[in-house]
Point group: D2
Chain length 393, copies 4
Amino acid sequence: MLRFSTAGESHGESLIALVSGMPAGVPIDGARVNRELWRRQQGYGRGGRMRIEQDTAQFLSGVRHGKTIGSPIAIEIENRDWKNWTEILPVETGDPAKHKAVASPRPGHADLAGALKWDFPDARYVLERASARETTSRVAAGAVAKALLLELGIDVASHIVRVGGAELSRPATWAEISALREKNEVLLNCVDEESEARMKAEVDIALRTGDSVGGIFEVVIHGAPAGVGTCANWDERLDGLLAQAVMSLQAVKAVEIGRGVTAAASMGSTVHDSIGYADAPQEGAHTRFTRDHNNAGGIEGGISNGEDIVVRGYLKPISTLRRPLGSVKFDTRELTKAAYERSDVCAVPAAGVAAEAMVALAFGKLVLEKFGGDSLRELKRNYDGYVDQIRAY
Amino acid sequence: MLRFSTAGESHGESLIALVSGMPAGVPIDGARVNRELWRRQQGYGRGGRMRIEQDTAQFLSGVRHGKTIGSPIAIEIENRDWKNWTEILPVETGDPAKHKAVASPRPGHADLAGALKWDFPDARYVLERASARETTSRVAAGAVAKALLLELGIDVASHIVRVGGAELSRPATWAEISALREKNEVLLNCVDEESEARMKAEVDIALRTGDSVGGIFEVVIHGAPAGVGTCANWDERLDGLLAQAVMSLQAVKAVEIGRGVTAAASMGSTVHDSIGYADAPQEGAHTRFTRDHNNAGGIEGGISNGEDIVVRGYLKPISTLRRPLGSVKFDTRELTKAAYERSDVCAVPAAGVAAEAMVALAFGKLVLEKFGGDSLRELKRNYDGYVDQIRAY
Amino acid sequence: MLRFSTAGESHGESLIALVSGMPAGVPIDGARVNRELWRRQQGYGRGGRMRIEQDTAQFLSGVRHGKTIGSPIAIEIENRDWKNWTEILPVETGDPAKHKAVASPRPGHADLAGALKWDFPDARYVLERASARETTSRVAAGAVAKALLLELGIDVASHIVRVGGAELSRPATWAEISALREKNEVLLNCVDEESEARMKAEVDIALRTGDSVGGIFEVVIHGAPAGVGTCANWDERLDGLLAQAVMSLQAVKAVEIGRGVTAAASMGSTVHDSIGYADAPQEGAHTRFTRDHNNAGGIEGGISNGEDIVVRGYLKPISTLRRPLGSVKFDTRELTKAAYERSDVCAVPAAGVAAEAMVALAFGKLVLEKFGGDSLRELKRNYDGYVDQIRAY
Amino acid sequence: MLRFSTAGESHGESLIALVSGMPAGVPIDGARVNRELWRRQQGYGRGGRMRIEQDTAQFLSGVRHGKTIGSPIAIEIENRDWKNWTEILPVETGDPAKHKAVASPRPGHADLAGALKWDFPDARYVLERASARETTSRVAAGAVAKALLLELGIDVASHIVRVGGAELSRPATWAEISALREKNEVLLNCVDEESEARMKAEVDIALRTGDSVGGIFEVVIHGAPAGVGTCANWDERLDGLLAQAVMSLQAVKAVEIGRGVTAAASMGSTVHDSIGYADAPQEGAHTRFTRDHNNAGGIEGGISNGEDIVVRGYLKPISTLRRPLGSVKFDTRELTKAAYERSDVCAVPAAGVAAEAMVALAFGKLVLEKFGGDSLRELKRNYDGYVDQIRAY
């Protein structure tokens, strides 16, 4: 079973990602993993932390001679900022006087809820774990899952469809979306220049006014066959697992499959994707069943239906504002301004990259459950056998 | 650990819900469970099946002398329609000639994806399990979880905020939302008459045109303290688990926490809920921390923050239309119309009731993880101890 | 993922087994399932309950036209004794005066620990769930897992190697062990007549003296290839999962893989199974690697090594004696004799049948994790592909 | 939920342990963790690796200012031997010529089963993960769980009851067993000098003859109240979870609770622990229920009964012999001797320390499930409330 977990505080020594259940023999290219970590640090409106950290993944286990060996994969990502925090956040008792309290909870963050939950006098320890810095480990783990899926011809990419009031003005093709990953200059990871310019203007408003701005990212799984996920058990449905994976990302407050939001306001005849049958096998498709559109986002009844799987995440504006909102001092309960910690103004592209990782990990888990395989050779044999089966269906 | 699973085909003998991990000593009122099953069957625009089935929960285990005894609770709900299907869906080999094929996949349903996945010649077996009839077991299991939460003063209710083009015109109070459950005539489970009339008009259009219509339900958890859920592990976050629970419901295609969808189009200063501090303890609140609004939907950083927890589900229009969409015959692949099976035209209120159950089960799991307790007495002692702790925080 | 759970009280209306994750298309023969339930009720020294209950499995879901359909399988087994308990163990509040208390805890049973855990005034509710009657549901679920394994040529059987002081005097062959299942008269399920007679004598002593007697059952998985299970993660090791499965059976207090107990008192050179290589492919073996003996019980490093997998369970004597041991009255705490509830004197053969079920369920889970497959056709294709792979290794 | 996982190869850069679900505020003493790692390296008959590695735990996350903070705890243990393996086991492709193959499988190890499973040409990668070196991470994780339990007055210790043919000649008291941990010279971790001398003689035989020798360790949980674990669900029973935890340790081939092995050969009246009731509260006991002996090993019906919990592990002799057994060359299939890798001759005391860790982790999980609590303060309050409840029972 493909499982992953993360550990690490935002200003601790390092971040850890632990991935287990990968078959042996999957090529892992360190440079490609670091490319994904780099992509997570890009985007117009990112905070100062991104200039401090040039995240690099160090594989401590599970990958030898450039390939997975079937053992758990531990990846460490150093926090370069740690050298400034060794006395503030020591593992040992250390000098409490050097503790850097988060003295008033920041609205929108876990600060207040966490302090109450764990009985902390201030929100420092809450911030350290709740911070989106944690998504760095998720992106490293996701890069391993992407390598697995790619071996089966299944690819995962994301693009931005809204920043604040500015929306992508037209549909995006898979070719456009996947090409974005190769760009070495990332503005707002949008396929359309005109739309991207409007998006940038929204960020500029936030930059000027000490505010922050939200947006919507769309993750697409391309090339997946029908039949992954199930309708048999509520907790094994593909849509439910993808929703958990994406909603679990910091600042995501809504998740949508296909045209989920607009479908709720529509009549059935305008939503459901009629089924047809191609005269001949279709390039890039596993069967000759066709759809006039893909409003279902590639999932029907909790199962992949062979179309592109489309998952959108609605990212609230970052909760830390340079013009902080009203809050309360933890100690005296006097009204004050929320504590300020260096933060982004817009992180929608980065959230999209983190969501690619979570989608790849959630989908990879179901792919291995369906096709099994302890070696890449066995997995591919099983996968090809199934693809032949549905092609001949 | 609070776990639940369901079994049963739509036209099989019966549906089963199995709930384990409940502490002993929780009063379970069979009438109240049946009331929830009744609520799930209501709503303007429901199909004929609702007139056949008066669902009643029969407790086979785990409840004795009106209370839970700490053992797994098995609940059986008879399918009255089964008497018409004994020869069509026999357990034994039976007479294949009597098999009632679903000869062409219905767009939007699991039919095609499931037939490919399980290598079925038609979609009968897929339909039998993928059908929303399965939510009957979820509602029975949810009623048990609701009984647990109610013992701690935590209540769960839902209401409808949109049907097709018609939207609730104003905010709803908890009092209004919770009162809806007592109504013995359920139109569209909306707190506002004028809005409900506009919603009904949308259903009438669908009824007239052989179409179906979607909508949005909102589930509210009222009375929960801060501190349930965590930011420590991605798969134990309250928002992620609620998103999976609700998205796993048939026909739900988007899930939103608080003002998730609109927040993504907003600036931070208009979204985040400033924190204040009441001069004196507040009736119905566990602490004196206050919020000017609840755009976060009661969850920050994956943890409940003490405000009402607000989860919305976006329900696509039912996939079965009396004016079926284009499809293909499974056997000959000729173009045809999608198979028609008796179905609802609008099921948004019913989906809201099913979502209440899923939310109660997901939240109940995290509540027991935080407070432990093998008996209601032990659970309440632990819960009260924590509430005192945060009150004195 | 293959999962199963059970529900039901010993004197409740019925017992439920719920199995999910089975591929579609696996033939399920109701008679064969009932045969397993019958086998569980046999054995010299069983109590009166066996004459009341002729257990029959009723499939409520998941099996149609004689085959699995990929949906969760719910099996109900009626308790014929229920008609005598409807007023004693009502689901509703009922008449407390008719409650049949277990007034003093029986040493060896969960009575005292359970009453303290769940804060019960007596042990009735504990007994109802802790009773070995629960293994009936496990055997029904195990019969489904056995049907799956048999499709891959993997078979599971058990025999008795010790009752009290009497031990099986010689090794048993797989042919002998598997043949025991066809016997319609079951004494003590031992392959050797002379040894079985000595075992019977032990039971007679217990019968005569109002005592009970323990023993050892051995479960063998025959025909499994190397490679199931893993050394990569402690909680996915085959030996650990089999140990949990067997130790979780009522009255089992030790579990052994291969010659585990005697190996601990030995030198390595006398224990480890040297490896050889056959000149030609071997009938019934997946590879040409050979072993001079199978002290490892078919598992090395948590992975099946291609030899028979041998798991022994050490069953303590039944805790209920007709000559009850010292106990204490729950209410007054006066010293008294342990409560007596009709019980077996020797249940080792029955425990062996229950252990077959648990071993089949635990091994079936790992088999599906390795080979995947949503239909029997897909599973067999993947399995055969792997067997060809290791044959050509 | 208390969860833990490990990663790392035996000759890789480092070993990782990841523990999540710990409440905040539990004091963690790095020296104490290192003491446990030291204990794991002791014992007469250990191999040369122990002189290379002075294992030290480095906390990367989850512990700040000497206490847990509720976040996942990542611990790294450096492999000092790594400097000799950087080119043999590179993460990158590296120079295949420097690969150090395990050219013939060692009987008793995962070598052959793993090579077949993962389709490796030799057993290097299998050995790297299957090696007992992995228990170092388990011991580090276990030290964290022990710190949690100790806060509740629950202690875990182990001692050796058999090495080869030499058995402990008398019962051991908890005081003796727990005192062993303070010894700075560890022979065979036996409470009785005369018995230990006989055990040493067994190791000497093995040393002299190039052999290895097995043994039995006994782990005791002291101070646990009744009520942890359950009989309600097979996979939540304390005995099953302890059996999996201990059997999952390298080289363990049998697990016993209390007098499990001998009970199977006995009559009930000689096995079950009669129940009495003390006139007055008993020092060190949570209730006044007494037992004349503890053959049940502190567990009845899968639930702790308040007595010491006694779990024994039967360790087979180490599979690597300096006088290697017969094997086969992976490449040519010629008969040869098993590959030799530096190894212990007797590791029973070390296995006992690793088993303490696994027992503490398994028991800690159930303790937190029963008592909940996100802070040590909340956990203690809940625990004390329960202890008062059963004291007043």
